[in-house]
Symmetry: C2
Amino acid sequence: MTLSQIDEEVAKLLQLKAQLGGDEGKHVFVLKTAKGTRDYNPKQMAIREKVFNIIISCFKRHGAETIDTPVFELKETLTGKYGEDSKLIYDLKDQGGELLSLRYDLTVPFARYLAMNKITNIKRYHIAKVYRRDNPAMTRGRYREFYQCDFDIAGQYDAMIPDAECLKIVYEILNELDLGDFHIKVNDRRILDGMFAVCGVPDEKFRTICSTVDKLDKMAWEDVKKEMVNEKGLSEDVADRIGEYVSMQGGQDLAERLLQDPKLSQNKQACAGLTDMKLLFSYLELFQVTDKVVFDLSLARGLDYYTGVIYEAILSQTIPAPAEQNGADEAGVSVGSVAGGGRYDGLVGMFDPKGRKVPCVGVSIGIERIFSIMEQKAETSSEKVRTTETQVLVASAQKNLLEERLKLTSELWNAGVKAEVLYKKNPKLLSQLQHCEETGIPLVAILGEQELKDGVVKLRNVASREEVRLISDQNH
Amino acid sequence: MTLSQIDEEVAKLLQLKAQLGGDEGKHVFVLKTAKGTRDYNPKQMAIREKVFNIIISCFKRHGAETIDTPVFELKETLTGKYGEDSKLIYDLKDQGGELLSLRYDLTVPFARYLAMNKITNIKRYHIAKVYRRDNPAMTRGRYREFYQCDFDIAGQYDAMIPDAECLKIVYEILNELDLGDFHIKVNDRRILDGMFAVCGVPDEKFRTICSTVDKLDKMAWEDVKKEMVNEKGLSEDVADRIGEYVSMQGGQDLAERLLQDPKLSQNKQACAGLTDMKLLFSYLELFQVTDKVVFDLSLARGLDYYTGVIYEAILSQTIPAPAEQNGADEAGVSVGSVAGGGRYDGLVGMFDPKGRKVPCVGVSIGIERIFSIMEQKAETSSEKVRTTETQVLVASAQKNLLEERLKLTSELWNAGVKAEVLYKKNPKLLSQLQHCEETGIPLVAILGEQELKDGVVKLRNVASREEVRLISDQNH
């Protein structure tokens, strides 16, 4: 056999293999979802819907519109927005035409949308799935496909009014979701930067020291200090000065005190941040949410694009299972963090050909973690999660009443009643009642020869077994 | 310069280019969405929400649960399901790990879900986006990213009961969406196959002749016949025999008549289909929907996987703009087709390692076309589409009342009232009223010194300018 003959044979065999492989029906499929993703079953969907309803009602109560953007963007749109995390972006295969990537968050598409449509003010929410090729930790609620739930206010407004509304929204949502006690930490990037400056941190180290400070919710000060000194190259003195500031917590009073601080008061950035913080607290007072809000100088947050106030909501109860699911840059890194956000006045300008800025402030609700908590609560609760809303099952105790059952069911549908009927000619009464118990249908309408003759329907409460006889509209 | 030196130089230059290209901030972005996709602006979202609410309410009224599946599946899961159309599937780039593709429809993921979780009966709806690298015709509402809206009943039940419910659902939804007159064509794959057999079509040509018949809603019989004879190689005789059958339309009576047809009555498949058709119509009678349902022997539908009854809903009014948007295989090819579906008893078995079948019947609502129609209606209507649900704007006619405005707004939020306030310290009354008119806010609560003194709020109807004074809860 010559080499070319071998090649020919191999080609033939491969072609044959391709034909066989393409032959449907015989092939055994791998029955799984892609790594890091999951299906939502009806029970999970019922919980998801409940959570969404609470959150969307809140957004609507605050006069928000909603938009939607495609699941993929031009690859270029995402380039240079996420720093090191860019490696986690899902790219689409080059099948000819544009190079595309799955969206990594909702903020960059929002900024692209504003710049593209030259929108200078909008209050919008956007709830949609985003994609990250991260190391999944699904038992802890960390997925490669997960929801983000963002509310943002874009526009040139008077200081701190929209910022205060974002905090009010977080407060309302966490209250209504009933996840237990929580508090909201607030800080300002300008205060952080000013603090670093007066402590003697070199300009070029602001961002990296910021990330180290951000670890204070998981690490003791001693370890954070070690990282500053040993890894980031700060002197002990400088680190200690930072240590004094980042231990401070308070409210409006702390902002006032720091405005008198001999060092901070000399820094323009810090003063601007502190003045705004005072103003923010005065609005929060009017909104009656100061009981949960803490001005905390250790709050740093990961994302580079924040330019002003930043915040993060933390649940007080410790929930072991779902930790850290949304990554460091969404709802923050601390255990129990369920919402986060801040002001980013520069991002839209990155998309505008002329660099026109649109000031923005927003909040992202860490909805996947909230789903996990709600699912856990549902597991341990004695109350059954219903996956349908059916109010009544149309049943019969006797045979040969399928037509009457269908007719009554149809009349109920026409009247807007949520009704079901078993798809069997002669189902047993027991299996009809079991269906009600399994799915939580509260009422069963029972048809029988006698009832049909009398022109009545027997309506039974499944739980209490109480029965009433209703006069039927049906003419038999 | 040696060749290797040239290579080295080129490599250096390319690296430099990559560095420059990756330098954020300076780069001018192409401000667009990916080809064939679009953003939904708030107005489009408001219409989308309205349509979804009607459809979801109907699904819930019929006792359906809902599920969700990931936007991408293992590439293998989609292989061999779509025939020629497989070339339209979006693949993800191989970035290591599994090979993935974006979902092409919701039916294959549903079948995968059932097989994977060994679910043998469920009534579920699924509304989500699917992806096709099709030639977009966006002005006609045909996109590469578009919604599907599927309702399916899986399970072994008595004949035609779930099938009848699917038709009832289509009827209810189209009535409630108020899109004008419509009719629903019904046929059965077994009747088609039996008809082909008795007309003398060779077995192996059933599917291809089926596709030709499917064109009857857009082409005259003469042209369809030509295709059968010239392209598909049927004899004139055979084509003419088919022509007689496919011109038939009727109801239960037609099914009865065809059961007496000397040729069809000899075919087992056809008889089974016709008997079921009779039964279906008897149930549709009970559901009071026969006024819109036509047994039409020319209805064929594209998808291979149908095994029994098939149907398609067609709007009577001719709408020029949005034709054919969902592709031939979703809501059918005919102009005005807005829903379609049928029975597919074999698909789930393709995923089950042991080939266990789960009978299924379902319907897909052609929601993108419905969006287009609703958007056109909104364009021509004098009624403005509201994008928020705000009930009242808290305003003031005088300066320095920001705090009072914020406080009242907060109280309204706490009471569950949808309220807005302008984010300005001292907005003009005119601009506050303009905001109401632009966004359709019906009421404005006007605060003034006098009202605050009197402990009242002036509530004005924006449209009628009528005012009432309400006693305020606020203590000033």
